[in-house]
């Protein structure tokens, strides 16, 4: 198969909010951009969220237009379901080998009508998007607002019954599809490789993922989202509406035993946000947040926290030592509490549902693939963190979003702008081979 060649000014790796915004900020400045995303749709983690803090905007509603704008931008070439294989320096630029994984559906022909999905006889229950809580057919469109809106075949589970081929109105199904190599020639690279959340089974004291009514914050996002699995909040073990819900903060952050000493920065706010949404969805439910420090530091965040307190969400300072369950699978939280009189006591409290405010871990392995150094925490390390946070030690390679460390959406958006600016500066400089090195004209500095 002949290799497809793409020539661009900047390659953005990762199609989450930081990657999309960087691509948009570069594209808007007139640069040609290629955006490579591993998943079958762009949108990253943000599209999985229910609402965003502190505005409580519906997340899908504000992410979808960004996804759409990215996909439709004249200067952005979008490659989804694609993996970066190798990167080689080539003069002042890079040659990047990318593999487009086979969807077994011809992208150009698929209209996203889902006729294939309707006739597919098999279901698997490992829909990444729904966090294992619902199932999808073998051939499926990833989710309702996916961009691109194209089906993909889960080839490992497919029995090749051929029903989808018959059903497809545009003859788009193609089981003979092979991985397609794409060669991208680029002058710069922006890493927006994002984050993963702490696995639910990471901490054995919290049930190691075996307690059915102990779920992660991301699962709760899906339960709360209008596009989520049940359309309402039910607990996993018996489908009961929980009357008492507890949040365990720092479940995966600020925890020596897990080797994660840092604060994940978003968990306080997402827990508070979920608590507020839950008090709307389940007005009678009691919601408790067990915390060490409440870190509502961003613009409007403290006010958001105070609102949650006023709404009756209970905040208890104390470290949760252990979670077990009773015979009815109700989680029991053992916690060292500091009560309002300052007394420390160890107590056990029963809840219907416990949400672990899991932390953020570095996504992917940027060091191995891109040769950029990472810090002890595994996130990309840059030489001048304070003043040039987007500039890595590799000339022409930049970093944005949570690849640089945990951050929330607004900080990712800021970093995206910063990465776009840093990339533009580089592209216009002689190193970026944008122009010949100019002789420095006389300075026109005028002091008072």
């Amino acid at each position: 198969m002949p290799t497809e060649h793409i020539k661009v000014d900047a390659l953005v790796v990762g199609g989450g909010i930081a990657g999309m915004q960087t691509a948009l900020d570069l594209g808007d400045q007139g640069y040609q951009v290629a955006l490579v995303e591993r998943q079958s749709s762009i949108g990253g983690k943000m599209i999985d969220l229910s609402k965003v803090f502190p505005t409580l905007d519906c997340c899908s509603c504000i992410t979808t237009p960004k996804m759409s704008a990215t996909a439709h931008h004249d200067n952005i070439n979008l490659l989804t379901y694609s993996e970066i294989e190798s990167i080689n320096r080539n003069g002042n630029g890079f040659t990047v080998q990318v593999t487009k994984k086979p969807r077994y559906v011809r992208e150009d022909d698929c209209t996203g009508c889902r006729s294939c999905e309707l006739v597919c006889p098999l279901e698997v229950s490992e829909d990444e998007h729904e966090f294992g809580r619902t199932s999808h057919r073998i051939v499926y469109v990833p989710f309702s607002t996916a961009v691109p809106q194209k089906a993909v075949v889960d080839i490992d589970n497919c029995i090749f019954c051929g029903k989808c081929i018959q059903a497809c109105p545009s003859d788009a199904i193609d089981f003979t599809q092979q991985p397609e190599p794409v060669e991208i020639e680029t002058r710069s690279i922006v890493l927006a490789t994002g984050f993963e959340t702490t696995p639910i089974d990471a901490k054995k004291e919290y049930g190691a993922g075996k307690l059915r009514n102990v779920i992660s914050g991301m699962m709760m996002e899906r339960l709360l989202a209008p596009t989520g699995p049940y359309g309402r909040v039910l607990r996993p073990s018996d489908g009961k509406m929980p009357a008492s819900i507890a949040y365990v903060q720092c479940a995966g952050s600020r925890d020596q035993t897990l080797g994660v000493t840092y604060c994940s920065r978003v968990c306080c706010m997402y827990a508070i946000k979920q608590a507020m949404l839950l008090s709307g969805a389940l007005p009678l439910a009691e919601i408790t947040i067990y915390y060490m420090d409440i870190r509502t530091f961003g613009k409007g965040y403290e006010q958001f926290y105070q609102n949650a307190k006023a709404m009756g969400v209970e905040f208890l300072k104390g470290k949760v030592a252990r979670i077990t369950e009773d015979a009815d699978q109700n989680p029991i939280v053992r916690v060292e509490l500091i009560d309002e009189f300052g007394k420390t006591r160890v107590t056990e409290r029963q809840h219907d549902l416990v949400v672990l405010s899991v932390g953020l871990l570095p996504g992917g392995n940027p060091q191995a693939k891109f040769g950029v150094p990472v810090g002890e925490d595994g996130f990309i390390q840059v030489p001048d963190y304070n003043v040039f946070p987007a500039v890595t030690s590799q000339p022409g390679i930049f970093v944005t979003g949570t690849a640089l460390g945990p951050m929330d959406i607004v900080d990712s958006i800021m970093m995206a702008g910063a990465a776009a600016s840093a990339t533009a500066s580089y592209l216009e400089s002689s190193n970026g081979s944008g122009k010949e090195a100019q002789s420095q004209p006389e300075r026109s500095v005028e002091y008072a």
Binding site: V147, D293, K299, G342, N386, I413, G417, S444, Y447
Partner: protein, 691 residues
Amino acid sequence: MPEENVNKQAQAGQNPKDEEPRIGVYVCNCGGNIGDVVKCDMVAQTLGKLPNVTVAHSNMFMCSDPGQKMIADDIKEKGINRVVIGACSIFLHEQTFRRTLERAGLNPYLYYHVGLREQVSWVHHGTPKEATEKSIRMMAAGIAKARNMKPLEPVRLPAHRHALVIGGGVAGLRSALDLARRGLQVTLVEKSHYLGGRMAQWERVFPTNEEARPLLKRLIDQVLAEPNITIHTGAQVAGAKGYVGNYTVTIRQQPRGVRGTFPNEQGVMDVCPIKQRCEFNYGLSTRKAIYRPYKECVPEGLVIDWEHCTKCGECVQVAPEGMINLEEEAHEFTVEVGAVVLATGFQPYEPFYGEMGWKEYPEVITLPQLHRLLDDEGPSDGKFYWNGHPVRNVALIHCVGSRQVEGVHRAQMDGEVNNYCSRVCCTASLSMASLIRQKAPDAKIYEIYEDIRAYGRWHEDYYTRASKNNVTFLRYYAEEIPEVRRADEKAENPLLVKVRDHLTWGEEIEIPVDLVVLSVGMMPNPVQDLMEIFKVTPGSDRFLLEVHPKLRPVETAVNGVVLAGTAQGPMNIQESCAAASAAAAKVSALIEQAKVELEPYVAHVDPDQCQGSGECVKVCPQEEAIELKTFSENGRTFQRAVVTPANCNGCGVCVSVCPNRALDVQGWRLDEYEAMVEAIAADIPAWEGAA
């Protein structure tokens, strides 16, 4: 009509009279957000019966790619030439759908958006039938407007590839550098006579522990090396005229009084008889009326404090001839710029007299003062001494001027308390605790806090280190403000801090200390004048307001005016630099092409109706937006109103006063409103479930 003719009329902004409106109507279910209350299918079905409605669909997510594709396909295949969409808020998706129309080859303004979610389904959840009927009526109004809509073209203006950055602190410098490297001209104005802003006053910065001034100096050197940047210190914006792409900004520059540098600067300062509080050291030391704030400051020369200089002439006598001119006058000049970056920064919260002992006891200082105190170039050469004695016991009280509670804390002049978190003070205090430990290995250090917000990368390390360094932590609640009072005379330490500690037994603890450090929060610099000049607004926390706190954090509601750094809210150095860089990216995208496009919502005169009454010219509040011009035709001369679109902001004041109905704001015409009002009130087709 021949096609050629149609095109000509379309280009002239006219609706071809015989082009029959073919309206596509789309009702979004919004994944149940609308559909759970409003019967979207029924709304679409009913609207399909109205005249000129060619297609009417409902869809789960109109904003999704398949939703947009449906519209595009209808335009291409069914000849739809007007689109009405009922979905979420107009502020979320109007632009999305405009672009959909554009991509499908239809003028993007032949589109009307009805807010069915925020203004119907979410507020009428208890009355689904009525909500459905209301949706039909609101959509019918949109359809009535659509029948009359005309294609519009954006106003295209040339733009100066030149940006004005206001503020020479780290954010302003960082924005200027990015803009210049992108190839734009930059004018940077700084109110004070030196670059660097607040960052120059820090001793060091977290989380890298770098010394602040060398780090700043490296940035300033890069800025100075950029040929595209012109810097004016001692300069303030006095006024501005114009609009995005084309601002004429008047800058007023105070004289420096001193030309360049010379060897005997210290001697010159020594002879000055005037002593003033040194702002750079936050009042911990004094300076003369001719002074320089710190050793490596840029520009490096001396400057005269005109407010306090008595023009006694002592300095002139000592300085080399011609170096000092006490008669120098302020001057004004203008710059033409396409966009403006507001990097106007913050000021530390100033406690009230007596607030935790502030000003009442000399042993109470603020965190910025502590930075100066521990600075090797500071007033005590970096020794941790106070009043000539080593400090052995020190308490740092967090959240002073931040996270305030109404009724507990004293409000600012505007009647509001600072209910926000200032974001940097926790880690700044912890990093200072580390530095104190280095300078005073045996000192007792207390951090009195509400929550430790060491949220950023490597911030937590300071917290861990403080614990290892035997820093004592005490936790108070906002409602129980720690009390600072004078110890009795014989006591070893001059002050007592009383705090109810919620980490131990909730007891009241009294700590004897030599020094109390108030970890004060951030407040925006007062920039009322700039807000008026550039029409930007503050939020309830008084910081400048962004368009959207989540997705558009550096843009303001005014196109062409963006925010960088702490003007927008509390931030640390890294965050300020990222924000400043992001602001530069927005400005580059806006003016880099040397042209900007504006919405076409400006006044439009119908020359057939205009009788030249001049009423519009009389009431127009804008300068040079509408005027009467004399025309002659067939030997007859007459006057007609003429609009200059770039100067018209579409306020519409002229529309209501025109006696001949010759004026309209394009896109929001009076006849469209009349049709909409009529459509809402009119009978609607019967629909299933209506009875």
